[in-house]
Structures are given as structure tokens and as C-alpha cells.
């Protein structure tokens, strides 16, 4: 079959191709390469067919391509459903549809498929650059639609773009109104496919040597925190996520089961109020400052006995929580002896040298507190170093670290310290979370990244309860005070931007982060709560959905009325002086060609004289003079007519 199928007349065809390529391009970032290559090869085939260089594929080849694509996707993803397989399927379908475009209707359908694919990009990210890009794609697709529907207007390739830009611009007020006023539901309108959360980075449920140092190499944002008043010092910003109490000789895990219990908590001073905006990490833990106010927990969260703040569900969307914390507190565990016993648990075997060291510390020290102090002094004095790339550790990881390699990251120190404490009979546990954060002056909040991930210990001391001990601080005090970038030497594999000294770059990055945080909060995170809050702040009180619908109806009426009035109003008149200047330019062109207009010669007479003297110019001159008359002497001289007139004068050659 050597058919060329249906190919839209040119500007429409170009716009259609541009739209399809642009809408598919970003998917190449996450689709397997063979799939992107196949899709773009099919598009190229269609392009070649339109140029007449290749025939379009016949029915059998199309069927073969379809079956091959489906089989490939099935092999790649083991399913045809879900986010990734679904997007892959849609991508190939769109490319196939292009190959199968045989009628005007098919071309329209292709454009609509393109619109649909625009939405699929939001499965992956919803940030500002993507949104801007997709606006542009919608503009291009709309231009294709305009050019298809109104070929007469599409003599020049720019005309459809202008028209679609105008239409989209007119739709902007409607879009904003719908966005602000459309009543939001309590929950999400639709769920994301479950595989959309697979690749979220963050703290995992266990800690073993190397797990945090790997995480630290990512500069992805974990969460942002904004304090209502003056923020506390960086050295006291310990964001607790997980308490790890189960040690199997190599890795630390957390206690299973829902241990919801009121911790015995004594607090002093005023609580510090702050707001956390947590990036989706698909885990339930919340990075609360020590120690959350049990009386002011956010809804759908609970506090465990060992002071973990957990959400009822894994956090799969940007979550904003209002919290308050007591920095000055005392946690007693006296009432629960089983908990203390658990905090002493160690495997039967392994790490004999460490156990020996612990017993020596125990015998030398008078109290538990002194054991802690001696252990920290050991880290401080015996040449331990802080590095992201420690040597690999074998079976007796603690022994090897303490006595052989002597270099490690926070999890090594926390792990070794906790092991020593337990072996010495001091109840201890590991806390994983984040420490510090970068203050963003542009937005007035802290950005806490994966690179701020940290692990430290807590020991239980008689009379003082659970006390935080950060062995890393003993090795590298500047990690806690100044952040990770200052604590590591230049060769360490940290993200580039964490290291940079270029102030402007840092500032730019912070400003961008502030902007995208507002975007996350007020655009992506504009939920029912935000909506109600917004109207309350505007002085409308608590609005009901009925009021919102009324507001929406009225607002849309007003907006559409204004748009209609603006577009239909003949009010935007041409500028008479400008029109005359253009006309004189036209006369000047003719004068140079030896056909001067007499001062008292009217436009019609002049046009008549041109027809007699230069018949080859007469048609252009007539059209030009007709428009001039309408502009200068007519009752409805619009700015648009003036623009067309200017173009006519510009084009006129005598």
C-alpha cells in the first residue's frame, strides 16, 4: 500500500508534528531507550511518508507493530497497567495513530491524544519548569487544532499560534477562577498508580554501615520547616524520624507493632511552634523536632512510647503539618522496665573486642554517665575520622570499625557507640533522622535535604531519663554546628551544590526553592483546608461548598462577560495620526516611482489615477486605499484594521 494517508495541509501538519514530538519528548527521560527510539522512529516514518519518500505501512505491518509494542511493554514491565506501563503504552499508541492517520478525523483524534498525554507527565513531577513546558505544549497542540479546524486562517504558520495563544490567554481568568473557587474535596479526587512511589529516596527502616552515607549523596529535599518565631540554633535541630532498637549484629531495625502509648514526659518552657512540609517519601514517619507536644499532635498521627511521631498512612503526597516541640524536656522510662530491657538487647555472638572494651569502660567508670563520657572521649582522642567513604566492613563490623578502620560516617559512630553502651549495661538506642538544615532567607524556612540525614544515639541515665548523645559530634563537632559540607574534606562525593562557595548560585538556588515551595503549597497543595483558610483570611469566614459554587458561577459570569466585552467592544480605535502617517508612507513609495499624489487629491481619485498610470499596481493599491478609507473616514476604525493596514503598506512595492 503506497498511500500517503491523510496529511493535514502544511501549517497544520507542522504544528501537529511539533505538538506530538514535544509532548512525547520528556517521557524519553523515564521510558526505556528502546521504547523511545521505537516511538520516534515511527514519527520519523510518518514524516518521511508525508514528504513522499516512504510509503505508509500497510494494515499487517501496523498490526505487527502494535503486537510487538504490547509484547515489548509486557516484557519490560510485566504488566500493561500502572503508571509506567500505561504511559509506555500511550506513547506507542500515539506514534502508531500517527502512522495510521488516514482522515481529517484521525488528525483531530491525534491532537486530542496529545492533550491526554500532556496530563501523564504529572505522574512523574509537578514542578514549575514542567508546568511551564506543558503550557507551551498545550499551546502548540492548540495551534495544530486551530490550523486543522480553520485552514483558511492558516495561510501563514504564525497565525494559528497567535489565535491559540489568544484563546488560551482568554481562558486564563477562567482557569484561575476554577482553580481558586472550585470546591475541593476532603480527600484526593483520584489516586496515583501504586508504582508512582517506588523510587522515592529517604530514610529506610533499617540502618547498616553505609546506608546513610549513601543517602547523604543526594541533595533531594526531605522536608522544609518554618518556625513561627526565632528558630533554635542549628546544633539543636535534631529531626527525629525513627528509633532503632533491634540489633542483629550488623544492622539496626525498629520495633514492630504499633506501640501507641503516652510517654512519661516532663517538659519545661514554652513549646516551639513550627510547620513541616514533608516531601512524599512513602513512609509513615514524621520528622518531628525533639520532643513533640503530645497535646498538640496533628490529625491522623500518633506518638509511640519511644517518641516516634508516625502518620496513620504512608506519606504519598506533599504533607503540611503544624507541630510544636519542647526542646527542654525529660523523658523517663522508669515505669516501663521491659522497655529498658529491650534497650540492652544484643546478639549472643560477635564483636568480642568491642564487648571487651565495653566491660573495661564499665569497670573503670563509676556511673553510667561516666561510661558515656569515657566512650565519647575515646572517639575524640583515638584518631577516629569522619568520612563518607569508609572502608568496607566485614562480619564483626563494630570491631573492625573501632579497632581497625577507625573511619566512618554517622551511622558507624552511632552504631558502635550504642553497641558499646549496651555491652556496658547502659540502655541505649539509635535514632535516625536529620540534623540541621539550610536556612533559606528568601522564604524564611529551613530546607532539610537527604544530605542532612543523620543517626545518633540515646542513652537512658538514672534520674535523667533518655538523653541524646551524638557520638559524631565528638569526632567532628563542625558537622553538627555548620552542616555536613564543612565537616567533610574536599574529595568526598557530596552533591556539588552543597559545597559551592558561589554566593550568587546559592542565593539563586534558595530563591528558586522558595518559589517552588510556594508552588507546592499554594498550587499543588491547594486542598480543602487551604481553600477554606484562604477565604477565611480574605474575610469571608468559613465558606461552604455552596457559597463556593455560587462564587464560581458569578465569577465565571463576570470573567466571561468582561472577556466578551473586551473582544467584541469596537472601542479600541485606530490612531488617526498613525494611519495618516502610514498612508503618507504609501504615497511616498509611489512618489519615488514617479506617481506623486496631489495635495488635494482624494484617495479614490488617487487610486483611479494609479489604475490608469500603473495598472499592475492597481489591485494592491485599491485594497490598500479601501482599508485606508475605512480607517480614516469610516465609523469603525479598529486597531486590528490599522495593524493590517500597516502590513499592507509595508508590503507595498511601487
Amino acid at each position: 500500500m503506497a498511500s500517503r494517508g491523510f496529511f493535514p495541509p502544511l501549517p497544520a501538519g507542522h504544528w501537529l508534528f511539533a505538538g506530538i514530538v514535544l509532548v512525547l519528548a520528556p517521557h524519553a527521560l523515564h521510558l526505556p531507550p528502546w521504547l523511545s527510539a521505537l516511538a520516534f522512529a515511527m514519527i520519523a516514518w510518518r514524516w518521511a511518508a508525508a514528504a513522499g519518500r516512504l510509503p505508509l505501512p500497510g494494515k499487517w505491518i501496523l498490526l505487527l507493530l502494535l503486537a510487538g509494542s504490547a509484547a515489548g511493554i509486557l516484557l519490560q514491565y510485566r504488566t500493561l497497567f500502572g503508571r509506567d506501563a500505561g504511559v509506555a503504552m500511550l506513547t506507542l499508541m500515539l506514534a502508531l495513530k500517527l502512522l495510521e492517520m488516514r482522515s481529517y478525523r484521525d488528525a483531530l483524534l491525534t491532537v486530542f491524544l496529545g492533550y491526554f498525554l500532556v496530563i501523564t507527565h504529572f505522574f512523574y513531577t509537578q514542578d514549575i519548569p514542567l508546568a511551564v513546558y506543558l503550557f507551551a505544549v498545550v499551546l502548540v497542540l492548540s495551534s495544530a487544532l486551530v490550523a486543522l479546524n480553520h485552514p483558511a486562517s492558516a495561510r501563514h504558520w504564525r497565525r494559528p499560534l497567535k489565535l491559540s495563544a489568544l484563546m488560551l490567554a482568554q481562558a486564563v481568568p477562567v482557569m484561575l477562577l476554577l482553580f481558586v473557587l472550585f470546591p475541593r474535596l476532603g480527600g484526593p479526587l483520584w489516586g496515583m498508580p501504586s508504582d508512582a512511589f517506588s523510587a522515592k529516596s529517604g530514610l529506610s527502616e533499617t540502618i547498616s554501615p553505609g546506608s546513610i552515607s549513601e543517602l547523604v549523596q543526594s541533595d533531594a529535599v526531605a522536608f522544609r520547616a518554618q518556625f513561627e518565631d526565632t528558630p533554635p540554633a542549628a546544633s539543636s535541630l535534631y529531626w527525629r524520624a525513627l528509633v532503632l532498637e533491634n540489633f542483629d549484629g550488623r544492622s539496626w531495625g525498629r520495633q514492630r507493632g504499633r506501640q501507641e502509648a503516652q510517654p512519661a514526659l516532663e517538659t519545661a518552657g514554652k513549646p516551639i511552634a513550627y510547620t513541616l512540609t514533608i516531601e512524599p517519601h512513602d513512609k509513615p514517619w514524621i520528622f518531628a523536632l525533639e520532643v513533640p507536644d503530645p497535646q498538640a499532635l496533628p490529625p491522623d498521627t500518633f506518638l509511640t512510647r519511644n517518641l516516634q511521631l508516625l502518620a496513620n498512612k504512608p506519606m504519598q503526597r506533599l504533607t503540611r503539618l503544624n507541630l510544636s516541640a519542647y526542646l527542654d524536656h525529660r523523658v523517663a522510662a522508669d515505669a516501663v522496665p521491659s522497655q529498658l530491657k529491650h534497650a540492652l538487647q544484643l546478639p549472643e555472638q560477635g564483636n568480642p573486642q568491642a564487648r571487651e572494651l565495653a566491660l573495661r569502660l564499665r569497670s573503670e567508670a563509676g556511673s553510667d554517665a561516666e561510661v558515656v563520657a569515657r566512650a565519647l572521649a575515646l572517639f575524640r582522642e583515638q584518631g577516629y575520622s569522619y568520612t563518607l567513604t569508609p572502608p568496607l566492613l566485614g562480619k564483626n563490623s563494630i570491631d573492625e570499625f573501632l579497632f581497625a578502620t577507625r573511619s566512618g560516617f554517622c551511622e558507624h559512630y552511632a552504631s558502635a557507640f550504642t553497641f558499646l553502651m549496651r555491652a556496658a549495661g547502659v540502655p541505649a538506642r539509635i535514632v535516625a533522622g536529620y540534623q540541621g538544615g539550610e536556612f533559606n532567607p528568601a522564604g524564611g524556612y529551613f530546607i532539610v535535604r537527604q544530605s542532612d540525614a543523620h543517626a545518633w544515639s540515646e542513652v537512658w541515665l538514672e534520674g535523667r531519663g533518655w538523653v541524646r548523645v551524638d557520638p559524631t559530634a565528638a569526632v567532628s563537632a563542625s558537622r553538627i554546628q555548620n552542616g555536613i559540607a564543612s565537616a567533610l574534606s574536599a574529595g568526598e562525593p557530596l552533591p556539588f551544590l552543597l559545597r559551592t562557595n558561589m554566593a550568587w548560585l546559592k542565593q539563586l538556588r534558595q530563591q528558586w526553592d522558595a518559589v517552588s515551595t510556594y508552588w507546592d503549597l499554594w498550587v499543588l497543595g491547594f486542598n480543602q483546608e487551604q481553600q477554606i483558610g484562604l477565604f477565611a483570611r480574605l474575610g469571608f469566614g468559613i465558606v461552604s461548598w455552596r457559597e463556593l459554587v455560587w462564587g464560581l458561577a458569578i465569577g465565571l459570569g463576570v470573567a466571561l462577560g468582561l472577556i466578551a466585552a473586551f473582544t467584541l467592544w469596537p472601542g479600541r480605535r485606530a490612531a488617526p495620526d498613525k494611519v495618516q502617517a502610514l498612508y503618507l508612507r504609501f504615497c511616498g513609495k509611489l512618489e519615488k516611482a514617479g506617481l506623486a499624489r496631489l495635495p488635494s487629491e482624494g484617495p479614490l481619485d488617487f487610486a483611479q489615477r494609479i489604475r490608469v498610470l500603473r495598472p499592475e499596481l492597481a489591485d494592491d493599491a485599491d485594497a490598500l486605499v479601501r482599508r485606508y478609507i475605512a480607517l480614516r473616514y469610516g465609523a469603525h476604525a479598529t486597531a486590528e484594521m490599522q495593524r493590517l493596514f500597516a502590513a499592507q503598506v509595508r508590503r507595498f512595492r511601487a
Binding site: P576, P599, E601, G602, P603, I629, A630, Y633, A635
Partner: protein, 308 residues
């Protein structure tokens, strides 16, 4: 340009129909028609036998207007024009007998032969569109249109219209001799009077009134008013002895509108002003020495003003 309205199409065919009677005078016919449409009155100044009466008659017939002709003579009295009240014995009261002025189109032939008194009776009726006799005011039919003729020669024993009276006429035209071809057709053709009797009216008073209304709606742009004012300003100084009055300016605007309407346009162009200016301003302009070669003066005025 604009698509011509049905009325304009009708008027166009009216011009052609009258043109079949008065040969080779399309421009003058158009001017006469424009004069009607602008609600003005027409003065034709020419030698006897040039077709003044024929033109008036053919126009009246084509436009479907009631036509009266008044021959002005030295002994014409105002009552002969306006009408008189005669005592009706049966009804024991005075009954008004309307004079010839009560018609749509009046041909006042050789107005300069009558006394100023009779002339002013006509002129007052033209101005007021009503007649007041014996204390009673009677409206004239609408539309009301006077074509007056004046013989420029043989002024002995006549009362030429003074300038103030001339100003009452929207236009003054001359018919002039027909060209050779038109004259040949006239000589070879049938009797004009009979032809007029067989003419079909193309309009009626109502549609003519509608047309007059349409004419008043023709758009005049600021740029065009600038042009009209420039023309008037030029006429008031320098080469010209007597300038154009504000009434003349208004007349120019009205006549230009009518001319544009006849051309099927909804806006006035400088060409319209130029077309009507000799007829509208000719009898109002005077040269520096007081001479009055209307056409030459008007053309000089037009040529000396650039279109703004």
C-alpha cells in the same frame, strides 16, 4: 467600499431614468438628486431652453412626487403662490384654497422676474416648510423641494436674487449646452414631454423621506471635518472676497453626505466634498474684486487646500 443599500440602488436607477430624458447631464442630475436628499433647494441658473423644466419634471415623475410649476412674472402676488381664503357662502365661512406651493416638488420658473415680495413668499416657505396666511400656519407636504430657475441674461426689469436669498439655496447649478452626441440623440429622439408622461415612478414620498433620513446618518469622520473646516477657512481670506458662512459649511456637509449616499457609501470621503463644492459654494463665493465665476472660484479653492 460598502455594499449599496436597496435605497441607494433605487436612487441609482432613478439617476439613470432621468438621464434618459435629460441627455448627457448625469452630474447635474446627481447634484439635483443629492440636493433633494440633503433636504435642500436647488437653483438652476441658465439660459432658456436648456432643459431646466424638463429636468424638474422628470425628477418629480421619477421620484413619484406631486409636481407644481409656478411661472414667476412681474405681477405675481404672494397669494398666487400660497393660496387664498375665499368666503364660502353655503358654509358661511372662509375656506382656504391652497396655492401651487402645496406640492412636493415646486418648479419656480424665472424667479428673478417676480417682485421681491413674491420672491420672499416663496423663500419663506422654502425655509420654514410651512405657509402662514391670514394668521394661520399650514404645513407644507413632506418632502418639500423647490427648484428655482433664473435667467442670467436679460436682467432688465428683473429682480435678481440678492446674496442673502441665494444663501437659502443649498446648490446652484448650471445645465449648459449638451455635447454633440447628446444633442444628436435629443434631436433624433421622441418628444421629451411625452416620454415624461410615460415614465414610471421609481420611488414614493415615503421612501424618499426614508432616504433623507439615511443620508443624515452617513458617517463623517473627524479627518473629513478637518478638511471641510480647512476649505472654509481658506475661503475667508486671501484670494476670496466673501468667505463661506457657517450655513454654507453645514450645506457642504449635508450635500457631501447625500453625494456619498448616492455613491452607495456609508461614509463621506474628500472626493464627495470636492464633487459638491462647486454647486454648494459657487453662488456664495466672491472673488477679490467681487466677480463671481463660480466654477473657477470653487476649483481654485479646492486646488489650494491639501487634504489633511
Amino acid at each position: 467600499m460598502d455594499t449599496a443599500t436597496p435605497l441607494a440602488v433605487m436612487l441609482e436607477s432613478a439617476v439613470r431614468q432621468v438621464g434618459q430624458i435629460v441627455l448627457g447631464k448625469e452630474r447635474e442630475i446627481r447634484l439635483a438628486l443629492a440636493c433633494v436628499l440633503a433636504r435642500g433647494h436647488l437653483l438652476i441658473e441658465d439660459l432658456p431652453g436648456m432643459g431646466k423644466t424638463t429636468l424638474a419634471h422628470a425628477l418629480a415623475q421619477t421620484l413619484g412626487l406631486q409636481f407644481h410649476r409656478i411661472q414667476f412674472t412681474a405681477d405675481l402676488l404672494p397669494a398666487d403662490i400660497l393660496g387664498v381664503s375665499v368666503f364660502d357662502r353655503e358654509r358661511s365661512q372662509f375656506v382656504f384654497h391652497p396655492g401651487p406651493i402645496f406640492a412636493h416638488l415646486i418648479l419656480a420658473d424665472e424667479v428673478n422676474r417676480a417682485t421681491p415680495k413674491a420672491q420672499s413668499a416663496l423663500l419663506e416657505a422654502m425655509e420654514e416648510h410651512q405657509v402662514t396666511t391670514e394668521g394661520e400656519t399650514r404645513p407644507l407636504p413632506a418632502p418639500f423641494f423647490v427648484i428655482a430657475t433664473q435667467n442670467p441674461t436679460q436682467q432688465v426689469g428683473t429682480f435678481p436674487l440678492p446674496e442673502s436669498q441665494l444663501d437659502r439655496f443649498l446648490m446652484r447649478i448650471a445645465l449648459g449646452y449638451p455635447d454633440a452626441q447628446a444633442e444628436r440623440m435629443l434631436l433624433a429622439g421622441e418628444d421629451r414631454r411625452e416620454m415624461i408622461a410615460h415614465m414610471q415612478p421609481l420611488l414614493d414620498p415615503a421612501s424618499l423621506l426614508a432616504a433623507q433620513h439615511k443620508v443624515s446618518e452617513v458617517f463623517i469622520a473627524e479627518a473629513l471635518l478637518d478638511y471641510v473646516q480647512a476649505l472654509i477657512a481658506r475661503s475667508r481670506g486671501g484670494k476670496f472676497g466673501a468667505g463661506l458662512s457657517p450655513r454654507a459649511g453645514l450645506a457642504l456637509v449635508h450635500a457631501s453626505r447625500a453625494w456619498a449616499f448616492l455613491a452607495g457609501r456609508s461614509q463621506v470621503l474628500p472626493e464627495d466634498v470636492q464633487a459638491v463644492l462647486p454647486a454648494v459654494a459657487g453662488h456664495r463665493l466672491r472673488g477679490p474684486a467681487g466677480e463671481a465665476d463660480a466654477e473657477a472660484l470653487a476649483q481654485a479653492l479646492l486646488a489650494s487646500v491639501a487634504i489633511p
